[in-house]
Symmetry: D2
Subunit: 152 residues, 4 copies
């Protein structure tokens, strides 16, 4: 049983989810015939970018609203290896946070088995690299719409 990376408290909205499909590329495979562990950040990112795009908080949209959202923390658990041409799904879950953070969980499945899971935490900065201590206006609006059930 996997331990949850993030917890949803009572009264908080459910995570937003988005799933993308990928296939292992030749260059991602290492001499041991499995996907090199350092390729998974790019798998996570495929799902992160797609989820953010889907819900209107894509990298360029945030940027155009004065927000940079660099990765502060990344964690990956490797359960089962992936091989050349394996088809797999990357499930991204955006977890609610009261703080000015983007907490995202990732689950990679192959043939119904969990191959890998992990999470990233993003902070928000303004153009001058100052940390937003509270959710910036644009992101707060997004969160309000999320809490109001607009994305269900």
């Amino acid at each position: 049983m996997r331990k949850p990376y993030f917890r949803t408290e009572a009264g908080q909205p459910d995570p937003l989810r988005y799933k993308v499909k990928r296939r292992v590329r030749f260059e991602e495979v290492d001499p041991l015939q499995i996907v090199w562990h350092g390729r998974y950040p790019s798998y996570f990112e495929d799902a992160r970018v797609a989820l953010c795009e889907k819900f209107g908080i894509g990298y360029l949209t945030l940027y155009n609203n004065g927000i940079l959202a660099p990765i502060k923390k990344m964690h990956i658990d490797y359960h089962l290896p992936l091989k050349f041409q394996d088809e797999f799904e990357i499930d991204a879950l955006l977890h609610w946070s009261e703080a000015a953070r983007i907490n995202m969980e990732f689950v990679i499945t192959h043939n119904g088995d969990i191959a890998s899971s992990g999470y990233t935490v993003q902070l928000m900065l303004d153009y001058d690299q100052n940390l937003f201590m509270l959710k910036p206006h644009f992101y707060k609006d997004f969160c309000d719409r999320w809490k109001a059930g607009e994305f269900e």
Copy 2:
């Protein structure tokens, strides 16, 4: 103050350390002019490979002794960004473990500041992908020499 990723208990030998120097390459930098977060596994690996080589437990040596050591877990904390052509050091620390695991910590410094830190945990498998529950012979020998102070 950084929390330690691993603890050394009383009676256990100190971590083995090795440091490599690197410089940020153009292709490692993202559109925001900082090193893309997904390049750090490769920075960690540069130091991991060098440390293992130095102490006689390189990937090919393990392999030739019947041991595969895939990454089971990776964690990265990002403190300060790196930019194009920044020179930095990657300090790898192999922490003692009673279990059949390779627990390694990484600290990346730039101009004396910690830019990033993290760790990896490796399991050991035989050629048939069976998990070693106890340290395999070759790795146990290495640990005995470590404990005997041979690497100080």
Copy 3:
């Protein structure tokens, strides 16, 4: 007007074609906000792998028939840059060759414009790294079926 990379002589079958669609990923973009030139081999490979798969000469199929097909030569012409999230198509064309070679041309288009083009040449080796001077049996069969119009 682009010069052709390969010429089809009279009596030779037309190139086999296959097209894949891709979208520029964040990590492929460099500090100048365009796709780093060194990512294009991976774009070409996406189309190469898909074409070979489609026509039954995928990397693993060749391998299982005793054939390695390493890249001997690669050429890329850059016409227009690609940017983050640009959608583009990679058109791969397998050109007929009398020799034991895999000659493939690539054309990357974005919004109907040619963004990039190029080619790769692959040789064929047996497991002992000996060069096939004549098409090996399995690949010759494939070529016979191609010439017979089986793939039209």
Copy 4:
């Protein structure tokens, strides 16, 4: 005998050269145990960046003088494969050109054998993406010093 990629005409200065040393990293190796062909642009770039830096025409220096120098063309010939931890040298040669172009040749050697060779051609653009038809001021100065033998 390798055909030359560029020719130096009578009266033109000799190429400027710079050599860097590298070692094959684990992640650069593919399932066939050789360096994946698509890693070589990054090897070439290591030598290109070092040569340009050495002679005062580094990417940032050009940029600060109003010049972008995107790759227009890249060609790679693969002679012998490289394997994990192979040590190799990348020799970069900047060839003289009367045009506003940066023509660079690369030769990768391993144990004295040529493993790979190739070239890149770079154009020069101003910040508005207009092509410089003549060498821009800053680059012309550099060429004059080169012709005057200042770098010998």
